[in-house]
């Protein structure tokens, strides 16, 4: 899954065309960064460090929300109007980064956020933020099911299809349709997250 193939010859119908770069489903160069981030999150939770927890939650959440909104509301609609070949070209370069980036940001944001809320007393039923946090759990829960159950499997399946010597455009189009639809839904859910989190921060 993480191996790097050689240059592969592409084929349209029966006519060979120019070679295209092999696709690395999981970019190996990014793994040490992911490991460092996960270690930092674990250390933040273990040490219960206010600054580190706040950094992980705010930086991770800001990036997660911004990327989801940008991809869902800007990139997704553009992608939906491209030809299958153009979508595939974009996907080959874009998705491997997302395979590493998004789960890392989500883990960083949620794990640090829960610990931060506990430390600041926001989880207490007496806190005015308790209700808002429960609503945020629900919003995140919906996003998690869409992202993990629909979006990520489709993204990875597209990457495997792209690695084949003769990728099937119909398979890629079918899977990318999921991406375009679900990315938009997640983008809208992220607007709800922004509203909730700014309410929590100002109460």
């Amino acid at each position: 899954m993480t191996d790097v193939g050689n240059m592969q010859a592409g084929v349209v119908g029966t006519a060979p065309v120019a070679a295209r770069p092999a696709i690395q489903v999981v970019p190996l160069k990014g793994l040490p960064i992911v490991a460092a981030v996960v270690a930092f999150v674990i250390a933040s939770i273990a040490g219960n460090w206010l600054w580190a927890l706040t950094f992980c939650h705010v930086a991770g959440g800001g990036l997660w929300t911004a990327i989801d909104l940008f991809v869902g509301l800007i990139v997704g609609p553009i992608l939906g109007r491209l030809s299958v070949a153009a979508r595939a070209e974009f996907t080959a370069r874009f998705m491997p980064k997302m395979v590493l980036l998004m789960p890392t940001l989500v883990l960083m944001t949620l794990a640090a956020g829960f610990q931060l809320a506990l430390k600041l007393g926001n989880l207490s039923p007496a806190s005015p933020n308790h209700g808002w946090l429960v609503v945020s759990y629900c919003v995140v829960g919906v996003m998690a099911v869409i992202a993990l159950g629909v979006l990520e499997p489709a993204n990875i399946a597209v990457l495997f299809e792209m690695r084949k010597p003769n990728p099937d455009g119909a398979v890629i189009a079918t899977l990318m349709r999921r991406f375009v639809l679900t990315a938009g839904v997640i983008g809208v859910m992220q607007v709800a997250t922004l509203i909730i989190m700014t309410k929590v921060a100002t109460q």
């Binding site: 899954m1 993480t2 592969q8 010859a9 592409g10 084929v11 349209v12 119908g13 065309v17 120019a18 295209r20 999981v26 996960v38 999150v41 674990i42 939770i45 273990a46 219960n48 299958v84 070949a85 153009a86 979508r87 595939a88 070209e89 080959a92 789960p103 883990l107 949620l110 794990a111 829960f114 610990q115 506990l118 989880l123 207490s124 039923p125 429960v134 759990y137 629900c138 829960g141 998690a144 099911v145 993990l148 159950g149 629909v150 990520e152 499997p153 489709a154 990875i156 399946a157 495997f160 299809e161 792209m162 003769n166 990728p167 099937d168 455009g169 119909a170 398979v171 890629i172 899977l175």
Partner: protein, 154 residues
């Protein structure tokens, strides 16, 4: 992408499968709901009746998904396991970090056991969905020609 074939639908696309991804996604959704119920009570001890019932149904759906997958013939098992093991590694780490937070926050006894079971289901659900989705669009190794409809039990 100049190397993408735009030919007629391939057998892998037209082939029908049992609803493994659907069942497992519902299982994942139930675990998420159970987790939200548990987390909404933190730092108090949550009532366990509903979360445990949800977890049992979720586990049953996961097992059903695994069973249906295990009966698929022909199926791209090499591709399935390649993806499954790597995804399992990633999601065991993810579940481990979440579990660590609960242990660190002094969740103990039955609530901790319920959370851990949910995390195990989560760590199995996601790799199963990803691996099944990848393998269903792959041609089984050594298989040529049309592929049978496997959406109904034999």
């Amino acid at each position: 992408m100049s190397g993408v074939s735009a030919a007629a639908p391939a057998p892998v696309l037209s082939r029908r499968f049992p609803p493994v991804a659907g069942l497992t996604t519902v299982s994942l959704g139930l675990v998420v709901i159970g987790g939200i119920l548990m987390a909404s009570y933190a730092p108090r001890r949550p009532p366990l009746g509903v979360p445990v019932a949800i977890t049992v149904v979720s586990a049953a759906l996961l097992l059903a998904g695994g069973y249906l997958t295990s009966r698929l013939r022909p199926f791209a098992w090499d591709r399935f396991f390649l993806v499954f093991w790597w995804a399992l590694l990633a999601y065991v780490i993810s579940a481990g970090v979440i579990g660590f937070a609960f242990v660190k926050d002094h969740v103990r006894g039955a609530p901790l056991a319920a959370v851990l079971v949910m995390l195990v289901i989560y760590a199995l659900d996601v790799p199963l969905i990803i691996a099944f989705t990848v393998a269903r669009y792959s041609s089984p190794a050594g298989h040529a020609g049309s592929l049978p409809d496997v959406s109904q039990p034999a």
